[in-house]
């Protein structure tokens, strides 16, 4: 019994407090720097929109990153188990296993995966698992200017993320798909969360997959 309690399951999650986000993109660049993300690809970035009519206009931000879902479709659909889920909930891609079929990318409802054009494997945000294992926070969380990003163990009632989650209304992206995403947003703007708002869907430029 003692052992069990000691091994209380950790479930990491990310919380984005958009009241504190300033849209500075330092998370985007921190991630590029930390994980050697090549040009043209992003693991995390901040979507910035402007909404309203002059003079009642506001800017809204939405940092996007892998949701490290509890029931990820990418994991379900990966034919070779290259995508796997760590016990602490982080969804990982095994670089030696990945065959680059890109089916996980097509499956991901958040479009946060990409093929690394240099290494030709699929990569994505994994909450800097190498840093987390060393007891550090993910690079984006560390550098966030407004401390809008909170990362931690939601199974630990004393963690900051648990406390903030307990006292604030949060939303998630596309929870209706049953993926159980683990990136929570406080005060996210509905229009920023809507991928089809504010763009001409017929004129979007798409990138080559790699």
């Amino acid at each position: 019994m003692a052992k069990e309690e000691e091994k209380r399951k950790i479930r990491y999650a990310m919380l984005v407090d958009l009241r504190r986000c300033v849209g500075c993109q330092s998370c985007s660049v921190a991630c590029k720097s930390e994980n050697e993300v090549p040009l043209s690809k992003f693991r995390t970035w901040v979507k910035i929109i402007e909404k309203g009519r002059y003079p009642d206009v506001s800017r809204q931000f939405l940092p996007a990153l892998c949701n490290n879902c509890e029931n990820p479709i990418c994991n379900r659909n990966c034919p070779v188990h290259a995508t796997y889920i760590r016990p602490d909930g982080i969804v990982m891609v095994n670089m030696h296993r990945c065959i680059g079929c890109m089916y996980c990318m097509a499956s991901c409802p958040y479009d946060v995966r990409y093929v690394n054009p240099l290494r030709k494997i699929v990569q994505k945000c994994f909450w800097c698992a190498h840093r987390v294992d060393a007891g550090l926070l993910p690079a984006c969380v560390e550098t966030c200017l407004g401390r809008a990003l909170i990362f931690g163990d939601i199974n630990d009632p004393n963690s900051e993320i648990s406390q903030v989650l307990a006292t604030n209304a949060v939303v998630r992206l596309k929870p209706e798909l049953g993926t159980d995403p683990h990136v929570f947003y406080i005060a996210a703007d509905a229009d920023a969360m809507d991928p089809t708002k504010g763009i001409d869907i017929d004129k979007i430029r798409f990138m080559e997959p790699y």
Binding site: A64, P79, C98, G100, K197
Partner: protein
């Protein structure tokens, strides 16, 4: 321009389309293979002796297409040399929940069975060809049906995530398979039956014209499914509506409305049922060609169009 909400996206990361033309082509080729195999089996198992030659054509085409199809898959993979990762059938190494895994199993089993089937059909061993026909039918249907599953399990994409997708794929496979059979049969009739008697050639001709009716029926079934699909897209979620918009009057309107529906379905339908055109090889072959192009456009719109609605 809608007045209620004024939203301008000032910054977003680039969108991407992971599955491209090669995948569409792969789906197309498996469709052709499955379609021709099913027709061939119907001909072989059927009681009418005159259908037998068609059986032979189908039996050759089915494995042929299926050899070409995985080439597309391999060249689409970012790590083609790791294809063997898919074949280490050990639990923990491959994921039996993934439709691609079904695909790998099917893509191994089906060409083998289709080749053996073709061998027996060509050597005239009816008993064994029937056995392999029966083995091959579920495989052929699955090999194309699974491609529908691949898409249907992409939950985030409104165009794909529907239970209709496998059925739609199988029916459209039939359509394209029949069309290809007709074309080959016409070529055979016109150029390779010079040594046959006039009656024999006429019998063959009637057979081909009869296939045209089959084609018409399959097209109707296909259109019916498409109609259902579009109707649901138009009336369900916002993403679905955006997808319908793309197909009906947006970016893919030409491919979908023009090529797939009008040239690929309506005109061939007219050609195979209108008495004057239904009776000539010329019009029938035109109809078949149009159908094949139409189905190709369909694969393209489904695969690429389905991913053209941004997800972030």
């Amino acid at each position: 321009m809608d007045v209620g909400s004024q939203v301008t996206v000032l910054y977003n990361s680039p969108h991407q389309i992971p599955l491209g033309l090669l995948i569409a082509q792969y789906f197309y080729l498996t469709g052709l293979s499955a379609g021709s195999f099913v027709i061939s089996v119907v001909a072989i198992l059927g009681r009418k002796v005159e259908y037998k030659p068609l059986g032979k054509i189908g039996a050759i085409l089915a494995p042929l297409c299926l050899i070409l199809a995985p080439m597309n898959l391999l060249s689409d993979m970012a790590q083609p040399l790791r294809f063997w990762h898919l074949m280490t059938y050990l639990p923990g190494y491959i994921n039996f929940k993934s439709p691609i895994t079904y695909g790998v199993i099917l893509l191994t089993a089906y060409p083998i069975s289709a080749t053996i089937y073709a061998y027996f059909v060509l050597t005239g061993n009816m008993k064994w060809s029937k056995v392999f026909a029966i083995i091959g039918i579920p495989l052929a249907i699955s090999v194309h049906g699974y491609t529908g599953f691949i898409l249907a399990l992409g939950k985030g994409r409104a165009l794909w995530n529907t239970a209709l997708m496998p059925t739609l794929f199988i029916v459209s496979a039939m359509v394209s398979g029949i069309a290809m059979m007709i074309l080959i049969a016409i070529v055979r009739n016109m150029f390779f039956m010079k040594d046959k008697t006039v009656e024999e050639r006429e019998k063959d001709r009637q057979l081909i014209l009869g296939l045209g009716k089959f084609l018409g029926g399959a097209i109707i079934a296909d259109l019916f499914l498409l109609f259902n699909d579009i109707l649901v897209l138009l009336t369900s979620s916002k993403e679905a509506w955006e997808t319908a918009h793309l197909l009906l009057w947006g970016k893919f309107a030409f491919e979908f409305i023009g090529v797939e529906l009008f040239f690929g379905s309506i005109i061939p339908l007219f050609l195979v049922f209108y008495p004057k055109t239904a009776k000539t090889f010329k019009w029938l072959s035109i109809a078949s060609v149009l159908v094949m192009i139409g189905i190709y456009a369909m694969r393209f719109t489904v695969v690429v169009g389905g991913q053209s609605v941004p997800l972030h």
